[in-house]
């Protein structure tokens, strides 16, 4: 299913922090404690889940070349894609303001714990980056745009949670003074990025046709393995 594939791809393979470095500034600034990291991560997931589909609708019906065809045939020749940046960032700023008002009304405790970070999400490159990548990768449907938004958010959340947990522990290690704080965080993030590269092979295969002889071959393999195991036992 392409939804599941896109979901896992956007969490692990195209991870916003480790593959494309989006949202690094708040990632580095907020990751000193796990509790605030969790709050910010949750807010990012929510904002991405709301803004990526909205911007997809904008892109599909207003911005793309030929998108204005629904207004009338003579408008189909217009290409408003140069307005993408302004329209996307305006949507994002508005949605974040709306989210702020709603959160303040329905959950004052969450609003207080997020503090200044909620309005700062509007200028988090992860949010605009999510919409821009959605546009450049030409995601074909609204449902997939939502999956992509939620998946990217969860990927970012995973990254900031991991680095916050590590940074809390590393205060008890003897890091060289000049590397303390920012320097070691960069290097750890680099090592985590190397680790996440291992997910690159995750979604290859599975598109091949299922071979009918596969099961028989699997059974033959099992029997052969057992024979080899038995032979080595008798030699020992």
């Amino acid at each position: 299913m392409e939804h599941i594939e896109l979901f896992f791809k956007s969490i692990f393979i195209d991870n916003m922090v480790f593959a494309t470095f989006l949202g690094m500034c708040s990632y580095l600034a907020v990751s000193k404690k796990v509790a605030t990291a969790v709050g910010l991560g949750a807010a990012v997931i929510f904002v991405l889940a709301v803004t990526v589909p909205l911007n997809w609708l904008l892109d599909q019906y207003i911005l793309q070349p030929g998108a204005l065809g629904w207004l009338g045939a003579e408008y189909a020749a217009y290409d408003l894609s140069f307005l993408s940046f302004i329209m996307f960032i305006a949507t994002i700023a508005t949605m974040v303001q709306l989210v702020e008002i709603i959160v303040e009304k329905f959950s004052p405790s969450l609003y207080n714990s997020l503090g200044i970070f909620l309005p700062l999400i509007a200028v988090n490159c992860a949010i605009l980056g999510g919409s821009l990548f959605m546009q450049s990768r030409e995601i074909p449907s609204l449902g997939l745009a939502l999956t992509y938004g939620v998946g990217s958010g969860i990927g970012w959340f995973l990254a900031i949670l991991a680095i916050a947990a590590i940074r809390e522990k590393i205060r008890y290690s003897s890091v060289p003074p000049a590397l303390r704080g920012l320097g070691i965080t960069f290097i750890i993030t680099g090592l985590m990025a190397i680790g996440f590269m291992s997910f690159g092979g995750m979604l290859t295969g599975g598109d091949e046709e299922v071979k009918p002889k596969k099961e028989v071959e699997a059974i033959i393999e099992k029997v052969e393995k057992k024979e080899i195991a038995n032979n080595t036992k008798t030699i020992k």
């Binding site: 470095f21 500034c25 960032i89």
Partner: protein, 215 residues
């Protein structure tokens, strides 16, 4: 430009090292890591940020007394977005290959924390000429780090600088390749950018002990 007063000259030189936007202020990291696999992309990105930050600082500084405080973020976003659209269209027109390499990161200059950071910290409270100098100073500080990272990543990763093969030809095995040197392709991948910046921070803080963080 005549002689700058001492106060103004500090605006230009501070961000080069002691108040560097990337290594000290921790702003503008995203693009510093993502596009530095090629030196050319780093240089073009640095120039774009210089344009947006310099002009943006001037515009915001000129408007600073008439922007209502409640909508100032939106006004800043609109100013930056307009300047970035200009940069993007110029790049697409005159350097199409490069704009493909930079892809969405030209658009992400809008959310580049350096720009919003300097608007809030400086342009909203200072006169246009000083804001311009501050913008240029920070953009140059940003550019220095970008070029440093791009230099090492491209040199060690593909053996070229700005597209010119400086270490010899890897296919014909001339130059350094004749003695068995191989390009470290890993340098072109994202994790190495993080580690290179970490090392730059390490070197900078070792040389200037006042920058070391308390535990």
């Amino acid at each position: 430009m005549g002689l700058l007063s001492k106060k103004d000259a500090i605006l230009l030189t501070d961000p080069l090292a002691d108040n560097n936007p990337i290594t000290i202020q921790v702003l503008g990291i995203c693009s510093a890591l993502a596009i530095t696999a090629e030196l050319k992309a780093s240089i073009v990105m640095a120039i774009s940020v210089m344009f947006v930050l310099g002009l943006g600082n001037v515009v915001i500084s000129l408007m600073r007394n008439i922007i209502p405080s409640k909508i100032r973020i939106i006004v800043q976003l609109i100013v930056v977005a307009t300047l970035v659209i200009i940069v993007d269209l110029v790049l697409k027109a005159f350097a199409y290959e490069l704009s493909k390499t930079l892809s969405v990161f030209v658009g992400l200059i809008i959310t580049n924390c350096i720009i919003m950071g300097r608007f809030e910290a400086f342009a909203l409270a200072n006169k246009p000429w000083r804001s311009f100098l501050d913008g240029i100073g920070n953009a140059v500080g940003y550019g220095v780090i970008l070029i440093m990272v791009g230099f090492f990543r491209e040199l060690l990763g593909s053996g070229t600088l700005l597209g010119f093969k400086v270490l010899g030809d890897p296919i014909e095995k001339t130059g350094l390749y004749a003695i068995g040197y191989e390009n470290n392709g890993f340098m072109l991948l994202s994790p190495m950018a993080l580690i290179v910046v970490g090392i730059i921070i390490w070197i900078q803080r070792s040389r200037n002990a006042t920058l070391i963080e308390e535990n």
